[in-house]
Amino acid sequence: MTSMLKTLSRPFVAKSSGDLARLGVLLALAGLILFGALRYDNFISPFNILSFLRYNSMFALIALGMAFVIITGGIDLSVGGVAAMASVVAAYLSLYGWFPGLAGGVLAGLVAGSINGVITTRLRIQPFIATLAMMLAAYGTALLLANNQSVSVSYDTAFTMIGQDDFLGFPIPGWIAGFAYVLGWIFLERHPAGRHVLAIGDGEATANLMGLKVERTLFAVYALSGVLAGLAGVILASQFGAGQPTEGVGWELFAIASVVVGGTLLTGGSGSVGATLAGALLLAMVFNILNFENGLGWISLSAYWQSVIRGVFLLIVVVLQAGLMKKTEA
């Protein structure tokens, strides 16, 4: 009788099909770094590494928020617009010091994200539609606030340090993103509320019947995505010295791509913070390498070609992952 029901524990490699995909993205990242290091002289230089991290921290932040949204089975198309809006708000408030600038940008993101949360949970509007509307509204607000031009930040306050300076030899945006990822990891993997995010993505009706606070959690996830987009906007304004109402176009796609490359299913219920970071770094690394390739002078790829190549690369990674996942399931 004992363990009559014992299911055959399969020869054990990965607990879920996502695990291998996550391993895949790490391998791809390592391969790309190795390729760059061998091919280009200054690829591994401190300058390249630090500026890579400084610039791409923004994208990593929005990818983190997107990961949580996608894990619940939703999507947030508004992050680019919200970042643009936040950058304008932050630029205006930077006159009063670095903290008002930072807080103002983050608050703008929180407001936008909360509205997304209310519309999707209370009004039961599809996240795709709700956040698409928010994207348009956020860009509109950004242009209105900025009178259709970029808004210079204050150079008299410490605001520009947020995006441009280093702390302990490491770019401040890198610290911010790193800190956000550590918290995000602890939250998703080790905190009950993070597990609830995963369970809700697995099935909202089921989660509700199991007594989880579905609406509250979904609201929080969209608010979080807004906050991180706001933070990215603050870094954007600080790094480029101006609030940019027309920046952020396509950021949501970069974020979605990072999450997907990181092995998170668009259907929700599975996902990893670490792999999302690896996915974001991987996609950014492709750009970095293309820049170096142009620098060699043998070929000259326009930004358009770079975009095409990145798209093809993304497709290859996703197809490879799909293959890996199928194998684990078999």
Binding site: T2, M4, K6, T7, I186, P192, R195, M210
Partner: protein
């Protein structure tokens, strides 16, 4: 009494689902809750667990008046529900599923993963289940998932565990394990509300039984004081007056050619061994309790579900359809049980609804031949007596009986030789019921073979030329016209024949 529900009523947009229903369960008791589809069992459960709110009535749980606003409120009081489709988060681990929403915590509110893992393993062990609690639930079979759900209930310190058709996806061995688990629960003073249809199982595991029909509690007694026949009679009840008998008098003519036959067919766990025949120009009834495999049998014949074993013959030739389109091409039509879900497209007109299945044949140069469509629609509206303002009226505006006629017309205009019709008069008022049955009769007289699935005794008694009775996925009796009677049908359904 652990639980007393008294005079519970509930209506949905004016239609009453429960009318003064009641239910009471003692501590450590296994109570069976039985009834036909639509009897109000699930509404009653959902009111108890806080998914719905009652309109009137009283609920006492552990001698305390309670109103549960949400499922989590009832869980907090010690009522755990294991739904038919086992509600667990499939990608989360076993341990997480057992503890979701009540996780053990350590510093900073973080998960105490070790306590969770050890606790989960310990509680599963009490059910003789030794599995890797870190594996996602989706890796396990239905029976194991059910144990996990029960383990979840136990760690919730549930006083009452509600199981909604827990055996519907289990095989015999797994049912045995489930019953052992229920006995363990009982020994620990936990009560179980067991919703099920397989009579043998109910008699094996349950102490008492509550029978519901039409939103009311019609009987409550100790299991051993309730003979099977009596139980079935209570469940099915009697509908107003019996219909006028419209079956062919001595029409049980075994010399007619066999149109459709199933020989010992099986598929999955729902259909194990079903044989039936439908002859030319006859209405062949298919009877059985809920869950006996009637609808599933129709799905196999129609090519929706795969045939695992046995043979299906149409006009003597062996057939195995891989999809409904093949069955349709062979002249078989299926009018499904639930009009709202599988049948009508509510916002489309009568014309469109009626010719949906015919559209491929209605094309002229790639577009719909409106003139022919109009002609067909007019003809069937007249022939079947559909009461409507115009063919362009949205079908949702029609009464249930008229909607059913449109659906019937949808298949008739494809010129089927065999029509399978599942619960032809469900949700239709009594006058329209008789009319639909007469219509089927006259179609049969013109040579159509009808396989009529029905849970209403009167309907079968009135219209069927022969009735095949299913029980637990097996055909247990075939009653010819001259053998048909209420008693014969009831005892076959209760499986006392053979």
């Amino acid at each position: 009494m652990l639980l007393t529900m008294q005079d519970i009523s509930k209506a949905f947009s004016g239609v009453s689902a429960l009318r003064s229903a009641s239910l009471s369960i003692a501590e450590g008791e296994v109570m069976a809750l039985v009834g036909q589809n639509g009897a109000g069992k699930s509404t009653l459960i959902k009111i108890l667990t806080g998914v719905y709110q009652r309109d009137t009535g009283l609920i006492k749980f552990q001698d305390e008046d309670v109103v549960f606003a949400t499922p989590s409120a009832s869980q907090a009081k010690g009522i755990a529900t294991i739904y038919q489709e086992i509600n667990l988060a499939p990608q989360r681990s076993v341990a997480e599923n057992i503890y979701l929403s009540r996780e053990p915590r350590k510093f900073f509110g973080l998960l105490d993963r070790r306590a969770m893992r050890e606790g989960a393993a310990a509680v599963l062990k009490t059910f003789n289940l030794d599995i890797d609690v870190d594996m996602p639930v989706a890796h396990f079979n239905a029976a194991t998932r059910q144990m996990i759900a029960i383990a979840r209930a136990v760690t919730q310190k549930a006083k009452l565990v509600i199981m909604d058709e827990p055996t519907s996806s289990l095989d015999e061995r797994e049912v045995g394990i489930l019953f052992d688990t229920i006995r363990t629960l009982k020994k620990n003073g936990v009560s179980v509300l067991f919703i099920g249809h397989r009579l043998d199982e109910l008699y094996e595991i349950c102490d008492r039984v509550t029978i519901m029909r039409d939103g009311q509690t019609v009987a409550q007694s100790a299991m051993q004081d309730m003979p099977k026949m009596e139980l079935v009679r209570h469940m099915l009840g009697k509908e107003l007056a019996a219909f006028e008998a419209i079956a062919r008098d001595a029409g049980n003519d075994d010399s007619r050619p066999i149109r459709l036959s199933a020989e010992a067919v099986g598929s999955g766990v729902r259909v194990r061994d079903v044989s039936l025949t439908v002859r030319e120009g006859e209405i062949s009834g298919l009877a059985g309790l809920l869950g006996s495999g009637r609808t599933e049998t129709a799905r196999i014949v129609f090519g929706v579900d795969k045939l695992d074993k046995g043979k299906i013959r149409v006009d003597g030739k062996e057939r195995s359809y891989s999809e409904p389109a093949d069955a349709i091409a062979d002249g078989i039509g299926l009018v499904s049980e639930d009009r709202k879900i599988d049948g009508i497209v509510p916002d489309m007109s009568i014309r469109e609804n009626m010719t949906l299945a015919l559209l491929p044949k209605l094309k002229k140069a790639g577009i719909v031949d409106r003139a022919r469509q109009q002609e067909i629609v007019t003809r069937y509206i007249k022939a079947l007596g559909v009461k409507c303002a115009s063919p362009d009226q949205p079908i949702k505006e029609l009464s249930g009986g008229n909607q059913q006629k449109v659906l019937l017309a949808r298949w008739l205009c494809t010129d089927p030789r065999i029509l399978i019709i599942d619960e032809p008069t469900r949700g239709i008022d009594i006058g329209a019921k008789a009319e639909i049955l007469k219509l089927l009769r006259s179609l049969a007289d013109e040579g159509l073979s009808v396989l009529m699935i029905s849970s209403e005794l009167e309907e079968l008694l009135a219209a069927a030329d022969r009735v095949t009775v299913l029980s637990d996925g097996r055909s247990v009796a075939v009653l010819k016209r001259n053998e048909l009677s209420e008693t014969a049908l009831l005892s076959a359904m209760a499986h006392q024949v053979n």
